[in-house]
């Protein structure tokens, strides 16, 4: 088996706040292979963005990546690097595309300057070379009249164009991995289609791996080969996209899929997951989903489930793997009785 491009092993990122220790990411392990697009889905507060920031070691106090966490990238243990070495990785081998392009761009520099800066810092290009590179990148991401637009400021561009600039910036150094954190959430649906198409096209051509973080299962279905579902700081299910949509194992995944309005899903009610994601300072004991789960039994409140192997490349953090007959008897979850969210 080939060496994965990125491998997380027991990543734990905790925030030491006044109200207690928030275990935002709590023992996350997964791998991303070269040239692969992997999706991470989950609701707000499940730890998907903190996972992304942890990979780049951008977690700031009071947050801390706990000792014992391992992040291996291209054979290097990123946790062992000092800040200077880490800077050579960021923007060079691993690039990030953020959700809100306006805050990711500096409003007082032209977009050409901002893209050129990456080339100057990481490739040591001269100003002239770097500017030419910036124009080339803007052309690549489909910016019309790139040479002129390079001299414009972020506020002169629309949201979709800004996100193209951010993608251009991310791809300047031809990174091995792009982490895209909700790259299209702030965009309209027709612009989202343009941007996703662009990302898919460029990463395919350049052989870039993508870690696509999103809450939109439709985006995952169309763009990712493999999906990781996170809940309460943990990976609860991982499978190929086709398997996840056809045969989700974890009740949380099942709930997410049911809550989504489906095509032609006539006047029926949407399935809901009662309650809300618990606060990261107080994850429930046992299975962290048990109080919202329609199948939970006494074991679930007591015993924290490991990631069970369901099939080839399909794992699920649910005791139903050992006692599948319990799925036949759903009941209102505990959270439903406390008053819905």
């Amino acid at each position: 088996m080939t060496e994965p491009l990125l491998e997380l092993d027991d990543l734990r990122t905790y925030f030491y706040t006044d109200t207690g220790v928030a275990r935002a990411v709590d023992g996350v392990s997964f791998r991303v292979n070269a040239g692969e697009t992997v999706g991470i889905v989950g609701e707000s507060g499940c730890g998907k963005s903190v996972t992304a920031l942890s990979i780049l070691r951008l977690v700031r106090p009071p947050g801390r990546i706990e000792p014992g966490s391992h992040i291996r990238f291209e054979g290097t243990d990123l946790m062992a690097l000092d800040e200077h070495e880490m800077q050579k990785i960021r923007g060079n081998r691993i690039a990030m595309v953020f959700q809100e392009p306006m805050t990711a761009l500096n409003p007082v520099f032209t977009i050409g300057d901002q893209i050129a800066e990456v080339a100057r810092i990481h490739a040591g290009m001269s100003r002239r070379e770097a500017w030419a590179k910036a124009v080339e990148m803007l052309t690549l991401v489909g910016m019309p009249a790139a040479a002129q637009r390079a001299g414009e400021y972020p506020h002169q561009l629309s949201g979709g164009m800004r996100q193209r600039v951010v993608i251009a910036m991310a791809l300047v150094m031809n990174p091995a991995l792009v982490i895209a954190d909700e790259p299209t959430t702030a965009l309209d649906v027709t612009i989202q289609a343009q941007i996703l198409e662009l990302m898919a096209d460029l990463t395919r051509r350049l052989g870039t791996s993508v870690l696509l973080i999103t809450h939109d299962l439709g985006v995952v279905a169309e763009n990712c080969a493999r999906v990781i579902v996170m809940y309460a700081g943990e990976v609860v299910e991982e499978a190929t996209t086709a398997t996840l949509f056809d045969a989700a194992h974890h009740p949380y995944t099942e709930g997410l899929l049911g809550a989504m309005p489906r095509v032609g899903g006539d006047a029926e009610r949407l399935a809901t997951i009662p309650g809300t994601v618990p606060p990261p300072t107080a994850w429930p004991t046992g299975c962290r989903f048990h109080d919202r789960c329609p199948y939970a039994w006494d074991r679930c409140a007591r015993e924290h489930p490991p990631l069970y192997q369901i099939g080839g490349g399909h794992v699920s953090r649910c005791h139903l793997a050992e006692e599948p007959e319990r799925r036949a008897h759903p009941h209102p979850p505990v959270a439903a009785e406390l008053g819905a969210a």
């Binding site: 289609a193 985006v219 949407l270 819905a340």
Partner: protein, 379 residues
């Protein structure tokens, strides 16, 4: 500036008298420059919009940011003043009402806002927030008001004892429930839902959508449901109006719109929605460029610079297309689409127009789902 006047107002069902009738609604915002605030232009946020909402109906207003859908919703309630046009609610001319009559009318028309964080006063308890409407409209006082607040909270799925808590103690979904309870407190007939679930996670979004549907069923509420999420709209709406640059470009029943979209913009919009069905590889209509500025909209059909209709020609940039009834109950503003007598199937048979289904695996899925529900497999 002449706005396209509809040949006949797009009506709901022949029988039902509309609860709300909006005709040629226009809202222009002046662009001011210099120290004297000289008006140098107009942002045509809403530029001649007409529609009806029947009692108990959900009309969805969809479109991308800046298309004027929220402005329309607010102008209808007179939260902002329209530039021209008319709004009739239950036979009353809303735009002509004085302050006192308007306040009385607000009992009938309410709004639920998008952002559950900024739409609740952080210094009021949720009990006080829900109670405010009761007091203003003299609906209940003292213990009776307390009891009503508790009842309303229960109806929206919150525990009555939460009345003494403050908004910051609640999650986004719970706050949205408070916003709904506040709107319901005065027992309106009509609620403008301005992106009520856009800020919520998918599981919580489903709870709020279900709640809105239950309330509609139990109370016969009519909704003007403003949204950009086409999946949610498909689920909740009876009819859908698609807006682009301040105009309604297509208005139809939800099934007709999703299976037989007429206007090229609607086709592109629907084809852009990611389908949660892995393996469904779609042919996408990728629109080029961005939505033009409403301060300087294109001439003729506002969509023509981005339109990919095979028959597009100079007429498109010259003629403002009227919103015409192309099929019974199906209104669209496109001069290149034939009128009502020709169905999509006939057009396809004639090889005339590229069928939208080519672009729309979603439409195919929709039809398959309909077929499977109407003809249950004999097991």
């Amino acid at each position: 500036m002449t706005t396209p006047t509809t040949l006949a107002p797009p009506r709901t069902r022949e029988t039902a008298a509309p609860l709300l009738a909006v005709r040629d609604l226009v809202k222009h915002f002046p662009i001011k420059h210099g120290v004297f605030g000289r008006v140098t232009g107009q942002v045509r946020a809403v530029d001649g919009v007409s529609f009806d909402v029947a009692p108990g109906e959900t009309l969805a207003l969809v479109g991308e940011s800046g298309c004027g859908k929220s402005t329309t919703g607010r102008a209808v309630l007179r939260l902002i003043e329209a530039t021209s046009g008319s709004v009739a609610f239950d036979g009353q001319d809303v735009l002509a009402l004085g302050a006192r009559d308007l306040r009385a009318l607000r009992r009938q028309m309410q709004i639920v806002f998008q952002d559950p964080f900024s739409s609740l006063n952080p210094r009021m308890t949720i009990g006080a927030i829900v109670r405010e409407g009761l007091t203003i409209h003299h609906l209940a006082e003292g213990a009776a008001a307390d009891a009503r607040v508790r009842q309303l909270l229960e109806e929206v799925g919150l525990r009555p004892e939460y009345a003494s808590r403050y908004p910051h103690e609640f999650s986004g979904g719970q706050r949205q429930r408070v916003g709904i309870a506040r709107a319901l407190s005065v027992e309106p007939k009509f609620i403008v839902c301005d992106e009520p679930v856009s800020a919520l996670d998918v599981s919580v979004q489903a709870q709020v959508v279900n709640l809105l549907q239950d309330l509609q069923r139990d109370r016969g509420l009519a909704y003007l449901f403003i949204a950009h999420d086409l999946s949610v709209v498909e689920h909740i709406a009876d009819r859908v109006a698609v807006m682009y640059l301040g105009r309604i470009v297509e208005l139809a029943g939800v099934d007709a719109l999703y299976t037989h979209p007429i206007m090229p913009y609607t086709q592109a919009l629907l084809s852009a929605v990611p389908a949660p069905e892995p393996g469904v590889k779609r042919e996408r209509i990728l629109l080029t460029g961005d939505v033009p500025s409403p301060a300087n909209p294109p001439s003729g059909c506002v969509f023509h610079p981005r339109c990919q209709h095979p028959a597009k020609d100079a007429a498109c940039s010259a003629i403002v297309p009227p919103l015409e009834e192309k099929a019974p109950g199906h209104w669209a503003a496109c001069i290149k689409q034939p009128p009502s007598s020709v169905t999509w199937d006939e057009q396809r048979a004639a090889g005339g127009t590229k069928p939208p289904e080519f672009f729309l695996p979603r439409a195919a899925l929709h039809r398959a789902a309909q077929a499977s529900t109407s003809h249950p497999p004999s097991a």
